[in-house]
């Protein structure tokens, strides 16, 4: 196990290097310039732009810039944003809690919906409940979040005027009012996002449970005279969850990606919206850092999924 872990961790290094090189190349080749706005403003002399470019090292050849970036990164220096002239790690740390809160709550909501619905639907396959659940799940993961998000805003904010649609990270209220306000503003983005994730998860849970529920040991358990509840919870779900857990882990990167869209719609100041605004402003260091964080997460969750799999299912061994 230890050897396996070490080997996997060693593989991570070249793949992250490869990813960073690719990202850097793409960004370097893409059109645009962080000081573009200065170019169209006649009041700013061109020398200012030129000196800013030299100062921030934008005029050096791409390989030089890449080596500089990667060595700084290795020393824990993430660089600083061209646009806001703030250190990138500070910028990301400022935004990370919001993203984690939204993604975490959405994930919890998704699990809370997907588990009971999926299990219940699988124990009564092709019943009316199963049909409805499957249809809703299909609709749920077919509709993109930018559509459902706008729909929610239209219904709950504009027609009904119940909920605000601009998310604020630092609410002015304190105490219970803060919780209430936080609840009100979070409910739409979390629901939109959580249901989209939950829909696909429901399908996974259902099919995993269906696979297990017909196995002989389940019949044996029933034959022993165990109650249905005990059979499902103790014998079926536990085994069925093995593939589901890995799937959830492997889905994490997609979830971060989905968060970008949701954050943009509801003006949530998370790293997803930071990524979008940095791309629009050609703020290369921030784009690099955020995408690199995403890349690390993908690699990390892949690793966790593999390890969890072996831990949950003793039949698989890594020695």
């Amino acid at each position: 196990m230890g050897y396996y872990l070490l080997r996997r961790l060693l593989i991570v290094i070249p793949s992250l290097l490869g990813i960073s090189l690719l990202l850097f190349m793409v960004l370097a080749l893409a059109p645009g310039d962080p000081f573009e706005e200065l170019a169209t403003n006649p009041a700013v002399p061109p020398e200012v732009r030129a000196s800013l470019r030299t100062k921030f090292g934008l005029d050096d050849p791409v390989p030089v810039r890449y080596v500089r970036w990667i060595t700084a990164m290795a020393h824990g220096d993430w660089g600083f944003s061209f646009v806001s002239r703030v250190d990138v790690d500070k910028l990301i740390l400022q935004r990370l809690p919001t993203t984690l809160f939204v993604i975490g709550s959405a994930q919890i909501l998704a699990i809370l919906v997907a588990l009971p619905v999926g299990v219940f639907a699988a124990t009564r396959p092709y019943s009316l409940f199963d049909q409805i659940a499957s249809t809703l799940a299909l609709i749920g993961f077919s509709l993109p979040t930018f559509f459902t998000g706008l729909l929610f805003i239209l219904v709950f904010s504009i027609y009904l005027d119940w909920l605000p649609f601009v998310y604020r990270a630092d609410l002015a209220a304190v105490g219970w009012r803060w919780y209430w306000e936080q609840f009100r503003q979070s409910i739409m983005p979390i629901t939109v996002f959580g249901l989209a994730v939950g829909a696909s998860m429901t399908r996974y849970v259902r099919s995993a449970v269906l696979d297990v529920i017909r196995l002989d040991y389940v019949t044996t358990a029933r034959a022993k005279g165990l109650g249905e509840r005990k059979v499902v919870v103790k014998h079926v779900v536990r085994n069925a969850l093995i593939p589901v857990v890995t799937l959830v882990m492997l889905q994490m990167p997609a979830i971060f990606g989905g968060a970008i869209v949701t954050e943009q719609i509801f003006r949530i100041p998370g790293i997803g919206s930071l990524l979008i605004s940095s791309i629009l402003a050609n703020d290369t260091p921030v784009v690099m850092a955020v995408t690199f964080v995403f890349a690390c997460l993908v690699v990390l969750f892949n690793l966790i999924a593999d390890i969890l799999y072996g831990w949950l299912d003793p039949r698989i061994s890594y020695s």
Binding site: D33, V44, S51, S81, S84, R85, A169, A172
Partner: protein, 596 residues
């Protein structure tokens, strides 16, 4: 309109026959700026108009929270590094200049005790210096007094090339000296007719010496106050997250009585313009939203909800079509559109005139921009026509056809005109933006009727407006026949704006296409007039020179103006704010208040 006619108009204002505002509007129509117009009036001794904005609250504070929405959030809060207007606006909550520009182009004092003029001795007769008297008893948010040292420091800070301040243009050619603790003198290198640039308006916000003195030049990025501004403005800094939120709270020692009205301010960033409009106009969640780049049709639909409206503030932005004077299809010394070539078709004046007649500005206004863009034939041409809003624009397909026919461009079997084997075919490019593509279609349709073939091309905005030397599709390279975009005249003095037709500003390979003359149109007379205006101290004579320049460039169809685009903002029906097209949206934030 020449100098005499201008003087006649000013005389009319003086005796009250013509309102000050009507005069300013006339000058706007002539392609000048409101600040310049008001400068002319001041110079001729017409009394400065009182600000019309009425501030009703009778005490400081008590107005609750002011919530404004900027769909591109402020990313930094040092006015000397403000890359875009969003950053200037964020800084403007905390910092103030000596004076700002109101909507009619009048200077309104902020940190100055009075506006310099000849009468009060502020302006030197030779145009070589201006003396500013500073307001006394002003405090920075940390309690330190504001003095002349701070003003002088801002000049040192911004004019140091190592600081790389974007405001350097306003400070590098002047010298600033302290006369006494509350008086500073700005000294120019040559006679300068337009003196109100340094320390005024968007690029004039003042930062405190005691916090920035150690961070001048190369260390400028490290100043802690870059992110935690300490200014003299009506609101004190509370919190800032780049791109997301700027928060401020009332400054109890603010130097103007009874102001500000609000207890706190919150500027939220992110999202898109349409939903920002919704949050103000439809749901009332926010009080004000900036830069509504939204189709008028949508705005009107939202306004039916009644919680807010769209406000239109005139400024100096013009959507215009440029005609290339050089040949974009022949490469000379590694560059197309080289000055050594001449455009094979557009060098014929008849073709240019015909094209100008083929732009249906009225349809563009009616069907695309609505209130957010009014048809204009000017950077300027005939003032007679400008006076009325219902003026008929020369849109006339028959006349254009006739013009081309007379000039020898005959229709071929494919319906496209040709002369000497050259077909009237143009490539017409612009950036990707729905209104612009609609606009292109309108022009193409009319051109087709007149026998002119147009190939439409659209380029992603991030490429089109980039300064990427390697990319052939940038607006500055202009590697096609015709192109269209909006030129912004944010600076109150038209001089910088008008240098875009001078021959020394042509964008070429040599200057990496950084020159501002994109059309590559050149005229000796224009150059001469521009040089004359640079040193002309009498604002009226100077205005006449600018009008002449406008005449030259537009009369020769170097550009075809299409619509004039005012600033559009969304504002809650209860919020009272005085906005200006010649300064930041928040230029007069201290006077904003909410009606009960």
């Amino acid at each position: 309109m020449d100098e005499r006619a201008l003087r006649g108009l000013i005389a009319k204002v003086k005796v009250g026959k013509l309102s000050r505002r009507a005069f300013v509007h006339k000058m706007l129509a002539l392609g000048l700026t409101a600040p310049m117009a008001s400068q002319m009036l001041d110079f001729c001794g017409v009394a400065n108009a009182q600000a019309k904005f009425e501030y009703k609250p009778t005490k400081r504070g008590g107005g609750g929270a002011l919530k404004v929405l900027w769909w591109q959030g402020a990313t930094l809060l040092n006015p000397h590094f403000a890359v875009g207007t969003k950053d200037q606006e964020g800084s403007r909550i905390f910092y103030e200049p000596l004076a700002g520009w109101d909507e009619d182009g009048n200077l309104v004092a902020a940190l100055a005790a009075e506006i310099p003029s000849r009468e009060n001795g502020g302006l030197a007769a030779d145009g070589m210096s201006v003396t500013w008297k500073l307001k006394q008893g002003v405090k920075w948010h940390d309690g330190k007094p504001f003095t002349a040292d701070d003003v002088v420091f801002n000049w040192q800070y911004a004019s140091d090339p190592a600081t790389a301040a974007v405001t350097i243009g306003s400070y590098k050619d002047v010298k600033v000296e302290k006369v006494d603790d509350f008086t500073v003198r700005v000294i120019f290198a040559k006679p300068t007719p337009f003196w109100a640039d340094a320390f005024v308006g968007t690029r004039g916000m003042l930062i405190p010496k005691h916090l920035f003195a150690d961070y001048i030049g190369g260390k400028s990025r490290d100043a802690p106050a870059n992110l935690k501004p300490v200014g003299t403005g009506p609101y004190k800094f509370v919190d800032f997250k780049p791109g997301d939120i700027v928060k401020g709270e009332i400054f109890a020692d603010y130097h103007v009585a009874n102001r500000p009205h609000f207890d706190s301010i919150e500027m939220k960033g992110g999202g898109d313009a349409v939903s920002a409009a919704r949050a103000v106009i439809q749901t009332g969640e926010y009080d004000y939203a900036w830069n509504m780049q939204v189709e008028d049709e949508i705005l009107q639909r939202l306004e039916k909800g009644g919680k807010g409206v769209a406000t239109i503030t005139p400024g100096g932005n013009i959507e215009h079509i440029q005609l290339n004077s050089t040949d974009p299809w022949t490469e000379v010394d590694g560059e197309r559109s080289s000055l050594k070539t001449k455009h094979p078709l557009l060098s014929d004046p008849a073709v240019r005139q015909a094209l100008a007649m083929l732009v249906d500005r009225k349809s563009v206004e009616d069907h695309i921009y609505g209130r957010t863009g009014s048809a204009t034939g000017n950077f300027l041409n005939n003032p007679e026509r400008v006076r009325s809003k219902n003026t008929k624009w020369e849109f006339n397909v028959e006349k254009a056809s006739q013009l081309l026919e007379d000039a020898g461009w005959k229709k071929g079997p494919d319906g496209v005109r040709a002369k000497d084997g050259k077909k009237l075919k143009f490539v017409y490019q612009t950036s990707i933006n729905t209104p612009r593509q609609k606009n292109q279609a309108i022009v193409k349709q009319a051109a087709q009727k007149a026998g002119v073939d147009m190939e439409l091309k659209s380029v992603t905005a991030s490429v089109f407006f980039s300064s990427d030397v390697a990319n052939p599709d940038t607006y500055a390279k202009f590697y096609c026949d015709i192109q269209m975009y909006t030129t912004t005249m944010t600076q109150p003095d038209p001089e910088v704006f008008m240098n875009q037709f001078t021959s020394w500003e042509v964008a070429t390979k040599e200057n990496k296409w950084q020159g501002r003359n994109i059309t590559r149109w050149r005229s000796e007379e224009y150059d001469k007039t521009f040089r004359a205006a640079e040193g002309e101290l009498d604002p009226v004579k100077r205005a006449a020179l600018f009008i002449r320049m406008n005449d030259l460039a537009c009369g020769d169809q170097a550009v075809i103006p299409v619509v004039y685009r005012p600033r559009v903002a969304a504002i809650s029906s209860k919020l009272k704010a005085s906005l200006s097209g010649w300064d930041n949206d928040l230029w007069n934030l201290r006077d904003w208040y909410r009606e009960a």
